[in-house]
């Protein structure tokens, strides 16, 4: 994979008895965003620590920007920006001093580092707090400053380890906006997250890890299709008692009908062209559909299908779900309400 900017090949790592990584491989093409998704303790941070030269694997190999991480870590450090899970900032320095220090230690001249720091403080809406000591910053401000620190030298490869964990929805939203701007600038980004909606909203590809192993790898859409748990909902113009019989063969399963007979719902295997087929079938039976909606499963469904367990903390993250537009259908919250309605 010649133009992979980040590549992990068979990484193993144990801490004492605990096996953090048990043969993890993935690669991130240049200019793309990989979401490394998994619950707490899945091994995401360990993988990031190895790729960013902070830890050595027990076995396996890794390359960043084409450089062998194990053989030439110093060269790798010139190519990467890192925002660690616990924002690694100096609490006793001001925001500006933190950025200038990181710039200087990255080889920038002081003047150059100051200019860039001012630029980034503006960009991350920290200009007002720039000369305050970081100890007094809120969680969201710390994360933004940490992101700014990782961008100081405009590195081509970025690692963001759980950039929004522990943030309130508003702060989370702002960090997302910042990351979206980065994505537009052509960097290669590896993002770890426990939040399915976050990976869905930001990543081109998702690698799901659990217990130190990759359990799935694909685009958000592919992963959703793999869970085979799409849901179709048909709203009729007028109540049609025989509608359920008409669509049953197409959805291949149980059809639920609402009390007023207007709305029909069914769990289906994700199938392209299903909506069209339904319209056609209803039309032939002389019925008019007001609306047909095939909803993609949420990534929580995917995770459940892959691991048999729900993702811890997922519900905390659903507040910001509304932004994951383009991935089909309403947000998770809405979906849950509707599912309940359909069962009732």
């Amino acid at each position: 994979m010649a133009d992979a900017m980040i590549e992990a090949d068979g990484l193993f790592k144990s801490y004492g008895e605990t096996r953090a990584l048990a043969g993890v491989s993935f690669s991130v093409p240049a200019g793309s965003v990989l979401g490394l998704l998994g619950p707490n303790g899945a091994g995401k941070t360990t993988a990031v620590r190895i790729l960013t030269t902070l830890a050595l694997p027990d076995a396996g190999q890794a390359w960043v920007a084409g450089i062998d991480v194990l053989a030439h870590p110093a060269a790798v450090r010139r190519q990467i920006g890192v925002a660690a899970q616990d924002a690694t900032l100096d609490g006793l320095l001001t925001g500006r001093q933190n950025l200038v220090l990181v710039g200087e230690l990255s080889g920038m001249r002081t003047g150059q580092a100051r200019t860039r720091a001012t630029e980034l403080l503006e960009l991350f809406e920290l200009a007002d707090a720039a000369d305050r000591v970081v100890k007094g910053y809120s969680g969201g401000m710390r994360r933004r400053l940490d992101l700014a620190a990782s961008l100081l030298t405009r590195p081509p490869v970025l690692f963001l380890d759980e950039p929004t964990t522990g943030l309130d929805p508003v702060s989370r939203q702002r960090v997302w906006e910042v990351i979206r701007e980065l994505i537009g600038s052509g960097v290669t980004l590896l993002l770890t997250t426990q939040y399915l909606d976050e990976a869905d909203a930001l990543a081109d590809r998702i690698v799901v890890v659990n217990h130190g192993q990759v359990i799935a790898d694909g685009t958000p859409r592919e992963l959703k299709e793999r869970s085979r748990s799409a849901y179709v909902e048909v709203t009729l113009a007028e109540p049609g008692p025989e509608a359920a019989e008409v669509i049953a063969p197409l959805v291949g399963g149980q059809v639920s009908v609402s009390a007023d007979g207007l709305r029909l719902g069914a769990a289906v295997d994700s199938a392209p062209g299903l909506a069209t087929a339904l319209v056609r079938a209803l039309d032939q039976a002389g019925m008019l559909a007001d609306n047909i909606e095939v909803r993609q499963p949420s990534l929580d469904d995917v995770f459940f299908a892959l691991t048999g367990a729900h993702v811890p903390g997922e519900h905390n993250g659903s507040g910001a779900k509304g932004t994951s537009a383009g991935q089909g259908g309403p947000g998770k919250g809405a979906r849950e309400r509707e599912s309940e309605g359909a069962q009732a």
Partner: protein, 284 residues
């Protein structure tokens, strides 16, 4: 599967010092020194170690014990000043241990470790910042001493040499403190180093009282204590009363040579050890 990786080639002892060119190393050390100085200025406790504590100690010792302890050949005030300087500088090296332990504890070291910086700057910068605060401490002690009646008839160069002797010793001790900080699980446990090691080291010496009245075994320990050599060296250079000169131990007969030898020895052992601990603590 590739074979297990034992150690990266560049992490081998010695070679980590040789990355980057001289100008980059100097710039990194300057940045780290400045960072640690900002820290000290923002941590009232740490700053009080080198400002309020020396004033307090100087005044307390001179007025509390001054009248009670007879010093052959001079006043207690003239005797105690060199002792107070070594006492304050010795105990304030605890700050190095606590500071490094805090950096490790709070993950700040991880930020430095992903930057393409000259890594030894983390340790060297801290030692320089501590040396600068030690200079401030020395100034505070000297000014307080002058205010309460300390006098010296020595020449200017000799006076400066006396301060330099003590500061060099404090600098070497800060590398011992770095070793302790790098092996501490928390800043709190690093702080206990001060009470367990530094206070006995500072007090079982000729810094506060002449050693002649101590029990034989204790006097032997005190006369060979590096703190005693440094204190006696400063007294000799400042022409202040130095009762230790009449004891038979070699370091007390040659305090300047002995204290330089101690400082060089401590530095030669502690600095490589600290860099070894640092690499061990920051690998894997």
């Amino acid at each position: 599967m590739t074979p297990a990786i034992a150690q990266r080639p560049h992490d081998a002892a010695g070679t980590w010092l040789l990355t980057h060119n001289a100008a980059e190393r100097v710039r990194n050390v300057v940045s780290m020194t400045r960072r640690n100085l900002v820290h000290i200025s923002r941590e009232p406790m740490q700053l009080s170690d080198v400002t309020i504590q020396p004033v307090l100690f100087t005044v307390l010792f001179i007025y509390l014990f001054g009248g009670a302890i007879p010093i052959p050949g001079g006043s207690y005030t003239d005797f105690i000043l060199a002792g107070l300087l070594t006492l304050n500088l010795t105990t304030s090296t605890m700050g190095t241990a606590v500071g490094l332990a805090t950096d490790l504890h709070e993950g700040m070291i991880d930020r430095f470790r992903v930057l393409p910086m000259w890594r030894p700057a983390v340790l060297v910068g801290r030692s320089f910042a501590d040396l600068l605060t030690a200079c401030l401490c020395a100034l505070v002690v000297a000014v307080t001493g002058l205010a309460v009646g300390w006098r010296t008839s020595a020449g200017l160069l000799s006076i400066i040499a006396g301060f330099a002797l003590v500061l060099f010793f404090a600098y070497s001790l800060s590398w011992v403190a770095a070793c302790v900080g790098l092996n501490s699980k928390s800043p709190e446990s690093a702080a206990s180093f001060g009470f367990i090691v530094l206070f006995p080291l500072a007090f079982v010496s000729n810094a506060m009282v002449p050693t002649q009245h101590m029990p034989g075994w204790l006097q032997a320990a005190a006369d060979w204590n590096p703190v005693s050599a440094v204190t006696a060296g400063a007294r000799q250079l400042w022409d202040n009363p130095n009762p230790s000169a009449s004891t038979g131990a070699w370091p007390m007969q040659h305090p300047i040579e002995a204290s330089l030898a101690w400082s060089v020895l401590i530095l030669a052992v502690a600095a490589p050890l600290a860099s070894r601990f640092f690499r061990r603590r920051t690998t894997g």
